[in-house]
């Protein structure tokens, strides 16, 4: 039986051979982690949706450049990351960070829990882009340190130190809100 990574390669090869419908299972498989990462990186669901869609379309257009020894997720994440960075750079410096994620993923009636989640998201948005990225990749995906390093283009040591500083800073920010 094929593992996910092998299945991805088979699907990519089918796309490259002209069967564009083979791209659909890839979109279905990775839409959730990519959309989640984009949402948490940008703090805005509309922008996250646009960035995720653009990332998939760009990946499809550039499938020929995908190194099939690499994980498909790591590769497409790099595309998504560039999309998100473009969005962040496009924001006016004075523009407040959008924060439309109150109560996301929580029951509507659990107001308190929703507010706590909103504070956590706000704390995440207070981190630097580099710190936020490693926290999200480590916490919300199954990427190893090595894979995070490959996806972000920095050494493993840097990933670990960014993660450490990010979690320290998060602890301070969350303590200010009495969340830890």
């Amino acid at each position: 039986m094929l593992n996910t990574s092998d299945e991805d390669v088979v699907l990519v090869q089918r796309c490259l051979a002209g069967d564009s419908s083979a791209f659909e299972p890839l979109v279905e498989r990775y839409q959730r982690p990519l959309y989640n990462l984009a949402t948490r990186l940008l703090g805005n669901r509309d922008e996250a949706l646009d960035s995720t869609q653009n990332a998939f379309v760009k990946a499809f257009e550039n499938l020929a450049s995908f190194d099939q020894r690499q994980k498909f997720f790591s590769w497409i994440y790099q595309i998504l990351r560039n999309e998100c960075l473009n969005v962040l750079r496009g924001r006016r410096p004075s523009a407040p960070l959008p924060l439309d994620l109150i109560a996301v993923g929580t029951p509507a009636d659990a107001l308190e829990e929703g507010q706590r989640a909103a504070h956590v998201q706000a704390a995440l948005l207070d981190l630097s882009e580099e710190q936020r990225e490693v926290v999200l990749l480590r916490h919300f995906t199954e990427l190893s340190y090595e894979e995070i390093a490959a996806s972000t283009g920095v050494p493993v040591k840097t990933v670990k130190s960014r993660l450490y500083s990010a979690r320290q800073r998060l602890a301070v920010l969350l303590a200010d809100k009495n969340l830890v």
Binding site: S20, R40, V57, T141, V180
Partner: protein, 323 residues
């Protein structure tokens, strides 16, 4: 994914407080998972499909241009050869005309001077279309690839030209439900339109909408249930958004019109219904007025495509300038 135990600080300094660290992990777990919108896959696939069509077209044009330029080169070389041969023959045969004693007066060359095109020369006969084109809705539509493709289709124009259908589709709940392929198939199924005439089904749909649930076909009268026995239909009805949309009398009336089923058979149309551009436009009376007139509808499709092509051209040029 449960990531509570994922973080291992094998590199962390000794002063790390494990309790605080665990609390950070717990806080991050509070964020949960954000479900991507249901239309994401359909929209990406729509874009990749149209992208590949565009890429193929671009490749074909490039190939054709390549062939064309090869041919032009051959023709040019041939002409140069013929001209050189002619000059050689004329030189050898002494056929060049004399260059002296031929002085005379030659008047100014008569050139055709066309007047510049004025604004008044470019008119759009249809006043409704002309004023619609000045609106933000038109602007938004022209930037929405799916909406432009759908509105250029004669079947879609015909369906949206029907006021009842346009009004029913302007309901965002239905538009969201329509992204689901089962729902599209269900709406194109004549059994549903027939069954909707039943007061029992109408009441059940209203109850389901009030309860925020889908409709269970099995709970209906046996004759009605067997009319809706199609598995895709039953699955679609179990979708609470779809059941809520169906409770609308406007949609029930629209479904009785075969033009809707015909338009829904157009995949681009179904995907475009989820786009915010088309959603906003359907709620505008201006669009309905234009689509009710088939000539104006055709003109609108062409104007949207032109506007989109200009926008793409402008962004392409801007991209080049940036580079």
């Amino acid at each position: 994914m449960n990531s509570k135990d994922m973080i291992h600080h094998d590199h962390a300094p000794q002063d790390t407080d494990p309790v605080a660290d665990a609390r950070v992990t717990d806080a991050l777990n509070l964020l949960g998972t954000v479900e991507p919108p249901s239309e994401l896959v359909a929209q990406v696939m729509w874009r990749t499909k149209h992208q590949s069509v565009q890429n193929n077209r671009r490749r074909q044009v490039a190939r054709r241009n390549g062939e064309g330029s090869d041919m032009a080169k051959k023709v040019l070389i041939g002409l140069i050869g013929i001209a050189a041969a002619g000059l050689l023959v004329a030189y050898i045969g002494g056929g060049f005309p004399t260059t002296t004693g031929t002085e005379g007066t030659i008047g100014a060359a008569q050139r055709y001077n066309a007047e510049q095109i004025k604004k008044s020369d470019v008119t759009i006969e249809n006043a409704a279309l002309a004023s619609f084109m000045q609106t933000d809705i038109f602007e938004k539509l022209s930037r929405d690839k799916m909406a432009v493709a759908a509105l250029a289709s004669p079947e879609v124009q015909a369906a949206l030209g029907n006021a009842q259908i346009a009004a029913a589709l302007a309901d965002s709940t239905l538009a969201q439900a329509l992204v689901n392929a089962d729902v599209q198939a269900a709406l194109a199924n004549p059994a549903l339109a027939q069954a909707l005439a039943s007061p029992e089904l109408q009441k059940a749909l209203v109850d389901a909408a009030a309860n925020g649930t889908g409709l269970q076909v099995s709970g209906l009268d046996s004759q009605l249930a067997s009319a809706l026995a199609n598995p895709a239909l039953a699955q679609a009805l179990a979708n609470k958004d779809f059941a809520a949309a169906l409770a609308s009398p406007q949609l029930q009336a629209a479904l009785a019109n075969p033009a809707l089923a015909q338009a829904l058979a157009n995949k681009d149309f179904a995907a475009a219904l989820a786009s915010p551009g088309l959603q906003g436009a359907l709620a505008s009376p201006g669009l309905g007025q234009i689509l009710a007139d088939s000539t104006a509808a055709q003109l609108l499709g062409a104007q949207l495509q032109n506007a989109q092509a200009s926008a793409l051209g402008a962004s392409g040029a801007a991209g080049h300038r940036e580079q």
